[in-house]
């Protein structure tokens, strides 16, 4: 499926990354997706929607270059361009950081729509990193979205929250949302100790756009502010790049996460004693 919107090349797409639950990898996905898209030669700007708890700047390694932030733009203390930090590794990657000293109420959904409309003509992709939760920050992040990526982990609590979020996205008519399952541990799935991809999809019933295996390298690269998707050789790095490809409308098969070639989950389901 082509998400890039045929014929609308002058208008950037707004992609919001959200999850409901915290800590499932929204910021990591946003940073890596942005890096992968920019490495493909796309013009990308990421907006950190987590006002008061910003960290997209840290994961992208741009923390020390922040001068102006999102709230400064919204409140007119600077021009949009001034708040856009240009990445040194990838020349067409920009970040608009969140304010750290304010809270979510400093920005409204209509501010976000205005801001993204200003960015659309210049950019190919506008990625918004949503905060956890379903309150104002979430509504800010979702308001301008053309595409919503819902991130979840193969854990019951994360899947519950993802389900709630998908319901809210549908109610706001921002759907259909696409699903990214992050931090899959194939070995645990195989032993039937972790939800399989099939289990998650069965409940959430939305289109899958990414499967990312659990990988310590992702944590290390995030800590160093150097997104793994730029040059990483691991399966996780490749998974991030594949999502970027799919967003651009290319058909990319999902990576085989199980080393021995078994479709993970198939065995697990046979061995598992009960229902969920």
């Amino acid at each position: 499926m082509d998400y890039s919107g045929n014929g609308k090349q002058f208008s950037g797409k707004v992609v919001t990354v959200t999850s409901g639950k915290g800590g499932v990898g929204k910021t990591t996905l946003t940073a890596n997706l942005a890096a992968a898209l920019a490495a493909d030669g796309q013009k990308v700007v990421c907006i950190d929607g987590d006002i008061g708890l910003r960290n997209l700047d840290v994961v992208l390694g741009l923390e020390n270059r922040i001068v102006y932030d999102l709230v400064d733009v919204v409140e007119g203390r600077c021009r949009l361009r001034q708040a856009m930090i240009r990445d040194k590794r990838l020349p067409e990657l920009y970040l608009i950081p969140a304010a750290q000293t304010r809270d979510k109420n400093a920005v409204s959904p209509s501010d976000m729509i205005r801001l993204t409309n200003e960015l659309r003509p210049e950019m190919d992709w506008i990625l918004i990193d949503s905060p956890a939760g379903i309150e104002r920050g979430f509504r800010n992040a979702i308001a301008p979205a053309d595409i919503v990526l819902v991130v979840t982990n193969p854990e019951v609590s994360a899947v519950r929250d993802a389900d709630r979020i998908i319901g809210l996205i549908e109610a706001e008519e921002k759907g259909p949302a696409r699903l990214v399952i992050n931090r899959i541990k194939p070995a645990m799935v195989k032993r039937g100790e972790m939800l399989s991809m099939e289990d998650v999809l069965e409940l959430l019933a939305i289109e899958l756009i990414g499967l990312i295996p659990d990988d310590e390298g992702v944590v290390t690269s995030s800590n160093r502010g150097n997104p793994i998707a730029i040059e990483g050789k691991s399966k996780a790095a490749q998974s991030f790049r594949n999502i970027a490809q799919r967003l651009q409308g290319h058909k990319v098969p999902f990576l085989e996460l199980q080393e021995d070639g078994n479709l993970f989950g198939r065995l697990a389901r046979l061995l598992r004693p009960g229902g969920n």
Partner: protein
């Protein structure tokens, strides 16, 4: 209950404000009743009024009676955003249009000023031809609450965290994993049917049941009260033995 009517006046065009909206104090906050003037006018006048009275209204909880206006999710979302930007809370939308009511419900808004109490079981409504029921053709996701005094039929799944409260029977043509309360008014003969029954909790009338973890394959089941206990039986029209 004390009702405070805010002066009906005229706007610049000489049109009575009251044909656009009225604001009244009620127990639950403020009730804004919208008139039948075109939506754009009503909407603009209301926003203007909220801006003018910003200090006075600050922090108020608003219920919006939209009358005959047919509103889409985008319209309701917009007005809710506008209201919340003015430090007000929109908690309910009352409408004469069932479509608009449903839209409001999907946005998580109340559609009644006070919670409807399930009808007392005085009259026995079961098994008569033509009982009122609603058909919902979608999956109910976590956080969604569906309440109906009559029967409820769902074509889709009921996910964990979603709830259905029905005065009558509940039929789920799909996977039931959320919470269902059938016969909420005290009707003990209400039943719950699902193609795949794995709910977090079931209630029929005043009886609560937690279903054990299912073993083996899923199959259609019907749940009812037998001798004071909630019992689930496989739905098997052609019994072999």
């Amino acid at each position: 209950m004390h009702a405070v009517l805010i002066k009906p006046g005229t706007d610049r065009n000489g049109m009575e404000i009251s044909t656009k909206f009225q604001i009244k104090g009620i127990r639950e906050g403020l009730l804004v009743t919208l008139g039948d003037a075109p939506w754009e006018q009503v909407y603009a006048a209301l926003i203007e009024h909220l801006d003018e009275q910003r200090d006075f209204l600050k922090g108020a909880r608003l219920a919006l009676d939209v009358g005959n206006h047919m509103l889409k999710a985008a319209d309701l979302g917009q007005i809710r955003n506008q209201i919340s930007e003015r430090d007000l809370t929109l908690w309910a939308v009352i409408s004469n249009s069932p479509t608009t009511e449903r839209t409001a419900q999907t946005l998580g808004l109340e559609t009644r000023l006070s919670k409807p109490k399930p009808e007392p079981a005085a009259q026995d409504t079961r098994y008569q031809d033509g009982d009122p029921a609603i058909l919902v053709h979608r999956t109910l996701r976590s956080g969604y609450s569906l309440q109906n005094p009559g029967h409820v039929v769902i074509l889709g799944d009921v996910n964990p965290g979603a709830e259905i409260i029905s005065g009558g029977d509940v039929i789920v043509w799909g996977r039931l994993r959320g919470m269902v309360h059938a016969g909420a008014g005290g009707n003990e003969s209400a039943v719950i049917c699902a193609l795949d029954l794995a709910p977090t909790q079931l209630r029929i009338a005043g009886v609560i049941a937690i279903t054990p973890q299912r073993r083996g394959k899923s199959q259609p089941e019907m749940v009812r009260i037998l001798n004071g206990q909630v019992v689930a039986e496989p739905w098997n029209p052609k019994k072999k033995d």
